[in-house]
Structure formats: C-alpha cells, structure tokens
Amino acid sequence: MIVKEWCMYCGECAGVCPRNLIEVRELTLKFNEDQCKECSLCIQVCPVKALEEDK
C-alpha cells in the first residue's frame, strides 16, 4: 500500500480493515502486507484519499 505524504494518521482505515492489519502510529502507518486481501476498504473510507494500491 502506498501511503501519501498528507496522511494525518487518523486511524479510520485501521478501523475498517477486516483483518486488523493497519498499525497507526503517531506519525507513521504500517501495513502487514503479507496478509492483505486487497479488499480496498481502507482506501475507500480515507477522508483525504491518502492511500493507493501498490500495483
């Protein structure tokens, strides 16, 4: 997952991730990519479009 520079670490994406894979630190976002099922729900809810699929 590509995290854009304007991410504000609000954590909304983490709340909807069905596999609980997103770790939101104060100023970093970490994905457990190995288990990601590419459902895009995290991308969908972000209020500022700060996530992009890493193709």
Partner: protein, 394 residues
C-alpha cells in the same frame, strides 16, 4: 522489562480516562497508555456535548475547557429552509456547550492521574496475548520495547478498535457504518446566530450531515461526515465544496484541519470476555444519528471502570463477572443507540426534496424542548413515512 498492573487501559481519550479514574477510585492498580505525545491532540471532533451529559458523569464544568455555552439549534434543509430551536421559542431547552477537546481530554486524564492511575504517553500497544490470569501486552515507547502484564485490559483505542480484536471480540466497523469526517476550525465565520449549533442535511453530506459549531467570537468548527458507500468524493472534497458555498464561511479562513472516522453502526453484542472489556468508540458507543460519542463513551468508561475495580477486589475476572458491564451499558446507552439506529436508517432513505418538505412542515410546529427525541417525535407527526417507520419507537 515487564510491568505488572491490575488494570491496563489502552487509549487515553475521554472513554479511557473515565474508566481509569473510576477503576483507580475503586482501589485497583491502574495503568493507562496512549500513543500520542499530547493527549487530546490532534482533535477528531466537533466538540459539542450536552450539559446534562457532563452532569450525569459528575463532571464540573471548567472554563479552561469550555469555549461556548449554547442557546439552541438551527436545522437547515437542502433548499435552505431553516428550523430554529432556541430558548426564546422553547420552554425546556436542553442546553449544551462546545469544548476545547485538546484541553478537556488532558483534564480528564489528569483526573485519572489524581485518582491514582499511572499514565504513560507516547506509548503504543503493538499486540497482546492471553495468559492464564490475564493478558501480556506488548508496547513501545521512544524506541524501547517492553511488556505489560495485566489482569484486565480495557480497550479504549477509539475508532481503530484494534485491541479488542486482538482479544477476539468482533469490533470491526463496516464502511457503511463508519462516518468519514473532515472539518476545518475557522476564523471569520459569519453565523446568523453564533449561540446556536447548525446542522445541514441532504446531498451536501451524503450519508451524514454538515455542521457549524460555534467556539466563541467568529470562530467555529465547520465540518461534515459522509458514508463512503454513498458518494464517490472524499469527505475533504465535500468539505471544500460546503465551505465555498455556505454564506457563513465564504469569508472565513481555516486554522486547523481535522479528519477521522466515527463508528455509527451501534454496539457489537459482545463487549467483554475473560479479562477484557471494550469501551468508547472502540465499542461503537456513539449516537448513530448525531455521531456524538463523548458522553456515551465516558458513560461506558464509568461503568467499565467501576466494575473492573470490583472484579479485581473480588478476584473474579471471568466473562461471567464482567458481563454486568454489557447489561448496564445496554440499559444506559444501548437502548437509545438502537432507537437512533432506526432513525438514522430512515434519514438515509430521504432525498433532498423530502428533507425540504419536512423542514417546511416544521415551520408550523411548536417544539417544547430541544432534544433529539423531541425532534423525532415531531418528525413522526409531520411525515406519514416517518410515522410508518418510527411511530412505534418514539
């Protein structure tokens, strides 16, 4: 390094701090951690609460965290028909105020500390595993990793709600149940009456509503919540449009951008397990119609904190013992959350034209008090469709 505690509260938002305070007052050893370097900042909130709510929690108002006392509500339909619910028109206004969350949240944490809780800031919980007599939580702070052994974990980590899920509770919010919100705090806002909070309904904010909450002088929180399932634009894009078009904000300038999620799908059935409780946004303790979760989350926190201390002193940390929290929460907030879920679902079916005709019908209605319940009761009177869907509930 291994730290031991009776009760570990993860997340020092309003819900966590309230739980920590009551648990410490109940005589238990309490540790509360938050990943933030500054409790309360950045805020993810429009900062409105009811005075009755603060009172019910035994919290005395402090001028250091109140920015504005409110006198009423203005509701605005898509064609700008407005409904005023102010104290000059209504006998029993339910009064409220606007907080300064950055200060309020810190004060709530200070109260927990004064009650005896230990506080760790800039400390992130990274995982946890079940042991025979509780949980072993992994944490990181300023480059150091360590573990905390707790008899009870209270998950208060907000809309992310990762902690309860580590413990096997199903608190994942679906996108259709998660408001995606964006807000500017602005100066130069020209409200018609800056003693009232304003709600804007309809396609300005698909699946939610837009708001202007005054913070004194010409300052206000101007924001909106949308459901990502109802629009292709982001909350931020909707906010830019709202601010550009609204007469009150055309000359205003932003000094802060806030974003965040607000879970509006109600509480999951299971809020506790052996050695584990979940409270606040993490437990869906939010009014699904208004998105307000400060008072309800703190109410959950109060019930959980008291019971956790009791469980520690009795040495019974089983789900059976902790289940009393589920029952009390259901009574204190769950019933009303369930009712407002139905109202929210109904509101989601209305198009701009229907909202306009409701606002028009409201022009001739006399409101006796300002409360969400009163509004829904009057809605049922003016709209046959609402009567059909909600008549039995209100």
């Amino acid at each position: 390094m291994l730290i031991e505690t009776d009760i570990l509260v993860i997340g020092a938002g309003p819900a966590g701090s309230t739980a920590a305070k009551h648990a410490a007052q109940g005589g238990a050893g309490v540790l509360m951690m938050d990943k933030k370097s500054e409790i309360g900042a950045p805020k993810r909130c429009a900062e409105g609460v009811s005075n009755g709510g603060l009172e019910s929690l035994g919290i005395e108002k402090n001028p250091r965290w109140i920015t504005k006392e409110l006198d009423g509500v203005r509701l605005i339909s898509p064609n700008r028909t407005d409904v005023w619910l102010t104290s000059d028109k209504i006998d029993l206004p339910e009064t409220g105020c606007i907080l300064e969350r950055k200060v309020f949240d810190k004060y709530m944490t200070m109260d927990a500390a004064r009650a005896g809780a230990q506080i760790k800031i800039k400390t992130l919980a990274t995982g946890m595993e079940k042991t025979d007599d509780g949980y072993l939580v992994s944490a990181e702070s300023m480059g150091e990793s360590f573990q905390i052994k707790a008899k009870i974990v209270i998950a208060a980590d907000g809309p992310e709600s990762r902690v309860a899920r580590w413990g096997g509770l199903n608190t994942t919010a679906k996108p259709k149940d998660m408001e995606s919100a964006a807000q500017f705090e602005m100066a130069g806002v020209e409200m018609e009456n800056n003693n009232c909070i304003e709600f804007y309904f309809g396609s300005v904010a698909p699946g939610g509503y837009a708001w202007i909450f005054p913070k004194g002088d010409d300052i206000a929180n101007v924001g909106l919540g949308i459901l990502a399932t109802k629009t292709d634009k982001t909350a931020y894009e909707h906010l830019l449009e709202f601010v550009a078009k609204n007469p009150a904000t055309q000359n205003a300038q932003p000094v802060e951008l806030n974003i965040g999620g607000d879970p509006v799908g109600g509480m999951p059935k299971k809020l506790v397990d052996d050695n584990l409780m979940v409270i606040g946004d993490a437990a869906g303790q939010v009014n699904p119609l208004t998105g307000g979760g400060i008072i309800s989350g703190m109410t959950g926190g109060m019930i959980a904190g008291k019971l956790a201390a009791e469980a520690i002193s009795e040495g019974d940390l089983s789900r059976k013992k902790l289940k009393k929290y589920e029952d009390e929460c259901q009574e204190a907030i769950g019933k009303s959350i369930n009712k407002y879920l139905k109202v929210k679902d109904y509101m989601l079916t209305l198009n701009d034209g229907e909202l306009d005709s409701i606002a028009e019908a409201f022009q001739d209605v006399e409101f006796e008090k300002v409360s969400t319940t009163e509004l829904v009761q009057k809605l049922v009177k003016v709209s046959p469709k609402a009567l059909l869907k909600l008549g039995k509930l209100f």
